[in-house]
Each structure stands twice: as structure tokens, then as C-alpha cells.
Symmetry: C2
Subunit: 279 residues, 2 copies
Amino acid sequence: MRELDPERTVWRNGEKADSATVQLDLADPAIQHGLGLFETLAVRDGRCVDLDAHLDRLISDAFKFLERPIERAAVRAALQSSAAEKPDEPGWVKLIVTGGGEWFVFGGAVDPAEEGRPIRAVILPWRRGPAGPLSGMKTLNYGANVLGLRYARERSTEEGLWFNHRGRLLEGCWSNVFVWRQGKLYTPSTREGLLSGVVRARVIDAAKELGIAVHDGPLKIKRLLHADHVFVTSSLRGLCPVTHIDGRAVGRAGKDEVVTRLSRSIGRRHPEVPGVTFS
Amino acid sequence: MRELDPERTVWRNGEKADSATVQLDLADPAIQHGLGLFETLAVRDGRCVDLDAHLDRLISDAFKFLERPIERAAVRAALQSSAAEKPDEPGWVKLIVTGGGEWFVFGGAVDPAEEGRPIRAVILPWRRGPAGPLSGMKTLNYGANVLGLRYARERSTEEGLWFNHRGRLLEGCWSNVFVWRQGKLYTPSTREGLLSGVVRARVIDAAKELGIAVHDGPLKIKRLLHADHVFVTSSLRGLCPVTHIDGRAVGRAGKDEVVTRLSRSIGRRHPEVPGVTFS
């Protein structure tokens, strides 16, 4: 589970560091109590995709969770420098900010075949409760998602879906979820306590532009299983159709043109978003 | 928020390390995804209190969460060595085990005045949901407790109480909770998804020995506020009476003899448990 890629420079507090030995002080609250935040961004053509949207979210959460400001210009420069390092290689960069006031930037290559690739999903056996103090923040308290994804992989699927105590869909372990049914687009509301993804926002904007109504009300299991089409979104993989949930085929053949329409719309203005259709 | 005390040796994977510079590889899943566990133990007379109960819990959770075994003998030896370092100084030792396979032992001194000290508590404004995949495990995903305790301290109290989505008491940010009412002892059930503390188990055993019935069924806010007595338990502070909840006095004068009886019963067999009455 090593995530550092020694092929890209690691930045520590604005300085280049040796990727083989970069370490964090054991006393840092990020280790002691999970007091830290992160962002993972796609890199295309030597640039970070949606850099400012990611930084806005992190900086806002840093005030709430870490009670400290972030040196936006310095963090931005390190992310851009990392992205520019390999202009011809699609990749990812990750930013970690700790409660002890340290920040790290590192990254690696992505497999372009993962972008937009159809996936299978399972409904996780646990239910998540009402929105807690960490809801909506991308923190280092990611253990539940690790276990959720492990559960999914043990069942030969790529994503695990979280539902809340009322049986409403929240999100995946690494994605936001959209449901297309009878000409309407549904996605769980941020009010339920989920992570509001950057690509999720792009999809909602594109739908509005195309005159597609977006409903962010309650989304029960039944509606998910009877959808015309289901897809998930993530910063690294873009829009990925979901072909199976709990082993059962979802969506109807010929109905996935909504993903094509949405990704074309996004791609016209933001061709750098992973997995979108450019034409 | 530094928690390492440079006055005691830090152990890293069974070797002594320099407490001023001990660091964890940034790639370790403990930092990347909160994939790690910890235990905090009291030290009395140069020995770890309830060492095996703490190790049993950690080793069991390590299989489930980290998918790796723990070198029990080596970890035990480091904890004992740390405890023996200052035989005349009451203290604490903390063990961290990471998803990357590293483990650390470090510790410091405690203020004996904190043991058994009456505290004030607040009801946290968030509700916790059904038991999730991390429920009952003492993991490094402690961000919600950090925010809970911050909320409590901003209101000049020492503890924040978690309730679930059904309005039932779960636990405190650093403690388990007991309610004494009309000769019966109540404590939230582990089935609700709470951390089953080592001192909590001692109290339940002591109650049985004294012929006091222990009920671990649902515990609503109303019962808490109308208790004859409320107290919390922790490995470092022992049994602490709760004098106020949300600024309102709880418990009735002269009714806290139950804490005295329970702590005497524990103290007869385990005089090393912090905060118990020895007489």
C-alpha cells in the first residue's frame, strides 16, 4: 500500500525532499489523532486539473479542522511544479496537510485505461449515521473507506456504496454517485453528509447547461437498482458507468448516452478532466 | 498538541529511538489513510496497568483492521521497559501500530490530581450512526473525538458525550459512561458501537462482585439527566464523577458512595488502577 511514487519529486513545506526517506514527526497530530487533510488531483498535459477548486476546499476545511491557515501560493506552486515535471505523462498529485503544520506534495503516473472504465459495485453492509463532525471534509480519517473498499474487492468489484441509517445512498469509497432514470438525473444531497467531489460539481453544471433536471433528494436502494443508468465520478477516473450492483446488472442497454452527453459537455470547456469524451 | 515526552525513551520496532527525531515514513498507510491502532496505558510503580487486556484488544483489532499479526512479546517488552524506566513516577505509555508494520512505544508523566477528579460534560451536537466498520476499535481515525473534545473545552468542560441517531448514549471522547439510579448501574451496550474500555470492564466485574445489577440496555438523555450519579471511566484517570451536563448539575448530594464502593472493590484486587480508593 505504498503510495509515494519515487518517480516524481516529493515536496515538504515548499522544499524538495528525498522521496525514499521523507518522513513525518511521530508527534504530529496527523499520526496521533488523524488531524490532517488531503486532496488528490489529476494531472494532464503537465497541469493540475481543477487546481483551485481542490485548494478552495482544502483551505476552507483547514480552518475548521486544523485551525490553521494554508500558504496557498506555496502549496499551489509545489502542485504546479510536480504536475509540470512530466508534461507528457498523465498522472496524479496528492497534497497532505497535517495538524502539526506540515504539508507534502507527491505524485505518480495513472493508467489511462482506468479513466471512464465501467465498474462493478457492492452495497456495503454497514450503514452510516447522521452527518458527523468530519462529514464533507476530506480528512486522513479514511479507515472506514479502506475497509469498505477491501469489502468490495473481496467480492471482485471496484467500489463499495455507503447508505445511511435511513436506507439512503450517500457515496462510494472513492466516488460520488449519479442515477439516471426517466430523463432525470439524481445524486445524493450534500446535506446527508458526503464528500462533495470536484467532478460531481462539473457534472451538475453540465447537466444544467444541457437542460437536464438534477435532483439531490433522498435516493433509496430501490431507485438505484431500477435506474436506467448509474455512474460514479472521481477526480482521477472521471465518469465511470456502473454495470453491476451486488452482482445484478443495472441500467439498460443503449441508455448510457447520458454519460456521453454529459462528458461531451464537460469536455468542451474542460477537455483536461479525466475520462471525458472530447468530441 | 505534541504528545511525545522526551523524558522517556521512544521505542521503534523494538529498538530505542531518539525521541526528538523519531519519524514515520510518509508512505505508511497510517498517515495516508488512518490505517493504524493505538493503546494508552497507565503506569504505576514502574509497571503497565492491565497490560494484557490492552494487548489482547490491540492484537485482535490488528488482524481485522491492519491484516497483520503483532509481535506480542517484543511489544510487551518495550511497554514494560518504558514503564520500568521511572519506577517512582506515575505516568502513561502509548503504543501505536501502523498499517505499514511499524510500532512505537513512548510515554510521559501524569498529573495525579487528574485521577478521579470530578468533571463537567456536554452533550455533543452531532449524532453518531449505526455501528460502522471501525466501531469498537481504537484506531488512529480520531478526528471526530478531537472535534468533540474541542467543542467541550470551548464550553469550559472536560468531556463531550456522544449519542446515536436514536438518542441513546454511547460514550465520551476519552471515556466510557456509567449511570447510577435507584440502586441500579447502567452503561451503554457495546452493541451500539462503542469502545469497550479496560476500566469499564473492571467496573462491571466489581459491580457483580458487590451484587449490583448492571444494565447495558438503551440509555436515553432523560435517564442521564435524572441520574442519582453519573461517572466516567478511563485508563489514565480511573473513575471520575460527572458533576454537570450541559451546565446543569447532575446527581444528588451524598449519592456518590457508589463510586467509592466500586473503586474500593477494584482497588482491593487491583490497587494499581488509577483513581481507585485503596482503603
